[in-house]
């Protein structure tokens, strides 16, 4: 968990938006480039991030002591669309993907959460706002239900009667994004799976970024309209638009 206090005035982010965060240690910078992180919450003038240690920059961030000065640009990107009245929101998170959807939990307390982790150690529930219903799954069964989170999601939706349209907002690893596209994309011809209920699904996708502001053209994802930029046109995309989800970077 990284908590930052902006040093100048900044607009507050929407759910699904992100910041480019970098270390600002003068002229010696290694790594050079900033990295994208979703903002999971803001309150009392502070920005909250939940960050998984993956490599160079996340390693450095994990060693930051209170008072360290970081550089950040944001909020960036489009965020999740607003949920309309009469729609039911289902939030799906895989692993650290929870960080990108966390602000939705706050904004839509009546939503349903599906949160899949590898094992109990990867779970960060204590830092999350609570929602009406939450289903936690783990690959090893060490916490919540055992098994793949999307299997449970599928069953849930299949068993959901009623005429309320469902919005699925999701973020997770590459494989999960791919599977979500297969499950919910209309083009895939399997909208039958949603058994009568109208489901519209959006995923927040990850891609390596250099600039975060649509100038390096580094963060492309293949969509039905050709390449689109995750930092500007996303990170949230309708599953109908995505052709190939961003690779495991």
């Amino acid at each position: 968990m990284l908590v930052l206090s902006p040093m100048s005035e900044t607009p507050w982010p929407h759910a699904g938006q992100f910041y480019m965060i970098g270390q600002g240690v003068g002229t010696l910078r290694e790594p050079l480039l900033k990295r994208p992180f979703s903002c999971m919450d803001y309150r009392d003038g502070l920005l909250y991030f939940m960050i998984k240690i993956r490599g160079r920059l996340t390693g450095i961030l994990s060693n930051c002591t209170p008072g360290a000065v970081l550089e950040l640009i944001g909020p960036l990107g489009s965020g999740f669309p607003a949920v309309e009245p009469g729609e039911r929101l289902v939030i799906v998170a895989g692993g650290i993907g929870i960080a990108s959807v966390a602000m939705l939990l706050r904004d839509y307390p009546e939503a349903t959460l599906f949160y899949g982790v590898r094992s109990a150690n990867d779970l960060f529930v204590d830092q999350l706002p609570s929602v009406a219903r939450s289903y936690i799954t783990s690959d090893d069964g060490s916490v919540g239900l055992m098994g793949n989170v999307l299997e449970h999601l599928r069953q849930y939706i299949a068993s959901t009667a009623g005429d309320m349209a469902i919005k699925v907002y999701a973020c997770g690893p590459h494989a999960m994004t791919e599977q979500l596209c297969r499950m919910f994309a209309v083009k895939a011809g399997n909208s039958s799976e949603t058994s009568g209920v109208t489901v519209e699904a959006f995923v927040s996708v990850e891609e390596r970024m250099a600039c975060g502001i649509a100038t390096c053209l580094g963060c492309t994802v293949s969509t039905v309209d050709g390449y689109r930029l995750v930092c500007k046109d996303g990170p949230v995309f309708n599953v109908n638009d995505i052709i190939t989800a961003a690779h495991e970077s």
Partner: protein, 303 residues
């Protein structure tokens, strides 16, 4: 104190420009800095038709540098001229269009389109992208092909012509000579070094395109060396130096080596205001060293 310099007949209010492909079409950075402060804006490489570029992943950070394989994705000259150029022209800065073609004909046609459009101050001919197909690299690495493309483009435009050289050559001075002899008014150097990285866990290249262009501080010593060699051989040719400039000190190193102007590339990603900080730092340096005119230190290295 004078920061104004002249390159190929263009007067720039200061020697700091943006490097092509690292500043979009310029307008993207208007939220971050006053574009009027810049010596010049060099836009993303343009082609006669829009181009999709290479598949993702397209970037990977390396030690003090980054690899990119964008592959010259761009909106095409027509869209640039119609949608971007009028907006860009509202700023008081020099606009340089970086462009490329897949054949000599396309290069010539592109130069023609950009010249006729009006509003572009100069052309930067990109023969040095390491992310195109193998055959393409001949434009930047084979002296005979280079002479041909520069010569043809020279005939197709009345604008000042800057040729951007590739560092992936045995003899940069030879390439510089060829470009100047064929009609280049100025030279930009360097473009990215061809490089590659592999993810040892997945065993896949870090870039879908396998190889990409290396930029950033890692390449600065190579860029300084090439710039100095070319300046020594062709002292009267205006040179635009780039490759790893992060600070004003880096920019001055290029100027001392012989650059009349410099371009900031990767640093824009690290800090969107890098250009302004470089301009400010150059001023400080001149004041501290009691130098009246930036032109007095161009090529001023004591060897």
């Amino acid at each position: 104190m004078n920061l104004e310099i002249s390159i190929a007949g263009l007067r720039l209010k200061n020697p700091v420009m943006t490097a092509s492909g690292t500043f979009g079409y310029g307008l993207e950075y208007a939220d971050f800095l006053d574009l009027n402060s810049l010596g010049g804006i060099v836009v993303k490489g343009l082609s006669i038709k829009p181009s999709m570029g290479n598949p993702p992943p397209r970037i990977w950070e390396t030690s003090c540098g980054m690899l990119n394989s964008i592959g010259l994705q761009n909106i095409g000259i027509a869209a640039f001229v119609q949608d971007k150029l009028p907006l860009l022209r509202q700023y008081d800065t020099t606009i340089i269009a970086n462009f490329f073609g897949n054949t000599i004909d396309e290069f010539v046609q592109g130069a023609g389109m950009l010249t006729e459009a009006g509003g572009v101050d100069a052309l930067e001919l990109n023969v040095s992208c390491p992310n195109k197909e193998a055959g393409w690299s001949a434009f930047g690495t084979d002296p005979v092909v280079l002479a041909e493309v520069v010569g043809q483009v020279r005939k197709a435009t009345t604008l000042p012509l800057i040729v951007k050289l590739s560092p992936n050559v045995t003899d940069i001075v030879e390439m510089a000579r060829v470009a100047v002899d064929a009609g280049a008014d100025a030279l930009s150097l360097i473009n990215t070094l061809s490089g590659m990285a592999i993810d040892i866990e997945s065993k896949r290249p870090r870039l879908a395109n396998i190889v990409g262009g290396l930029s950033g501080p890692a390449i600065k010593p190579v860029a300084i060396r090439m710039l100095w060699q070319v300046h020594r051989a062709l002292p009267s040719t205006p040179l635009i130096g780039m490759g790893g400039i992060m600070t004003a000190d880096d920019a001055i190193e290029f100027i001392l080596a012989g650059a009349r102007a410099v371009a900031i590339g990767t640093a824009n990603f690290v800090n969107p205001q890098a250009t302004l900080q470089v301009i400010g730092g150059i001023e400080q340096y001149l004041i501290r060293h009691q130098i009246e005119d930036i032109n007095d230190i161009v090529g001023g290295v004591l060897c």
